[in-house]
């Protein structure tokens, strides 16, 4: 692949991973890319690398502009191996003594990923580096999403190299937001919901800080997916909105089922919710990926969980989604639990406990139905849904 010029002497030299479908447990139905950037100034600078097995492809891309051996400086914005995996090979190829600049935590973390031979150099928050015509500024963004994460800002071209922030798992030759169109927002939202949501309070603080600093941002270059050049404010504003977690007039009914009884409940509950003018969708866990469920959960005001009782406890796939959701810490949600059971019926109370721990406002102690819901059971499920729908309307 040829490098793509983003501004005079600034290039995208990363690689596309067309076929990845499972990115550390996150479903990537459109593949992904590992972006890396090259600035050819008096000093030649490479920002981030790619997953190890794609390193030669990246070096080839760089070769379409310049002999990679002419790179003077490498900047590592993030230690995770989709961006650092290529470092040992790149440094071996261009010269082991050349410096790799990173944050203080990057220094620690890179040392633990690559024990031998990188010439790591720590930069502090706000530090500037002149590379010729350009000056770069480093901004620490700890826990967005690793302790080492940082941004590199090119003051001259007003480009923000934002590491994983504002990224999307999307493979395509389009390169830019204006060439993909609105579809990209879905992938950006999925990325946010699955990687960043738990750090929502930090994101709000960071965006406030960046606004106070008055950084003029003409282009945002993340480490995955397309580059935001036509309207960088759009993705920043979306991050603010997602981080506030105000919730829409929407509920999701997430369930699993063995003999369809809990499923019948789920569908009647969803219908009851919808009867209140609230968007509702039942989601069968084993027909979805947990990362897509999380994306739906992001802007839902209510999350309703259903599970049959299996061997005195919750169905395992339901526990999977609950565990995953616990880590991502969604805020300001209404919650409720339901399920069909045969004799002991522990699942509903157990789910309620999980939802309470998630800090959700529980609107009903939960609905249990013995075996297969009959007409009365279906009506109870519908009424349960109505109650949730009303609670959503009242809360907004």
């Amino acid at each position: 692949m040829k490098a793509v010029e983003l501004a005079k002497d600034v290039y995208s030299v990363g690689v596309i991973d067309w076929n990845i479908r499972d990115f550390h447990g996150y479903s990537t139905e459109r593949g992904s890319s590992y972006n890396a950037y090259l600035i050819v100034d008096e000093k030649v600078v490479l920002i981030d690398t790619v997953k190890k097995e794609f390193t030669d492809k990246m070096l080839e891309n760089i070769s379409s502009i310049i002999d990679p051996k002419r790179i003077d400086i490498v900047i590592s914005n993030h230690t995770e191996m989709d961006h650092s995996g290529g470092l040992p090979r790149v440094m071996h190829y261009i010269g082991q003594d050349k410096p790799v600049y990173c944050s203080k935590m990057g220094f620690k973390n890179l040392s633990e990923h690559f024990p031998a031979g990188l010439n790591l150099k720590e930069v502090s928050n706000g530090e500037e580096m002149n590379i010729g015509k350009r000056t770069l500024t480093f901004l620490e963004t700890r826990m967005l999403h690793w302790p080492d994460s940082m941004f590199t800002y090119d003051q001259t071209d007003k480009i923000l190299f934002s590491s994983d922030a504002f990224g999307q798992h999307y493979a395509g030759f389009e390169t830019f937001d204006d060439k993909v169109g609105d579809e990209i927002m879905h992938h950006a939202k999925k990325y946010y919901a699955n990687i960043l949501l738990l750090y929502a309070p930090l994101i709000l603080k960071l965006i406030e800080k960046v606004q106070e600093m008055g950084l003029d941002i003409k282009m945002i270059c993340p480490d995955h997916g397309i580059i935001w050049r036509s309207d960088p404010a759009k993705i920043i504003n979306a991050y603010v909105e997602w981080s506030k977690q105000e919730g829409h007039k929407k509920a999701i009914v997430v369930y699993d089922t063995m003999w369809h009884s809990t499923e019948i409940m789920a569908e009647n509950i969803a219908e009851g919710i919808a009867s209140q003018g609230v968007e509702a969708r039942p989601i069968h866990i084993r027909s979805s990926d947990r990362s897509d469920i999380m994306t739906e959960a992001l802007n839902a005001k209510a999350i309703v969980f259903g599970s049959p009782t299996l061997n005195n406890t919750i169905f395992p796939t339901v526990a999977d989604v609950l565990t995953y959701m616990k880590g991502l810490k969604p805020k300001n949600k209404i919650g409720a639990a339901f399920g069909s059971y045969g004799w002991s019926g522990e699942a509903v109370a157990e789910i309620r406990g999980h939802l309470e721990n998630l800090g959700m406002e529980i609107v009903d102690p939960g609905l249990r139905i013995h075996y297969v819901p009959d007409d009365q059971g279906r009506a109870e499920a519908y009424a349960f849904g109505q109650k949730i729908g009303k609670a959503v309307i009242d809360a907004l």
Binding site: M105, R142, M143, P147, P201, L202
Partner: protein, 53 residues
């Protein structure tokens, strides 16, 4: 003295160790940390710490 856990990243402030990298002597209680002290791992403010039970 009580230990405090960062609710953002899980770092534990242990008064016995202090935070020498950031000029905090061993033996400094959480309450005695300066107000502008932040989590050495993630930069979270003091009020984002909870007492470890």
């Amino acid at each position: 003295m009580d230990k405090y856990v960062c609710s953002v990243c899980g770092y534990v402030y242990d008064p016995a160790n202090g935070d020498p990298d950031n000029g905090i002597e061993p033996g400094t209680s959480f309450a005695d940390l300066p107000n502008d002290w932040v989590c050495p791992v993630c930069g979270a403010a003091k009020d984002e710490f909870e007492k470890q039970e």
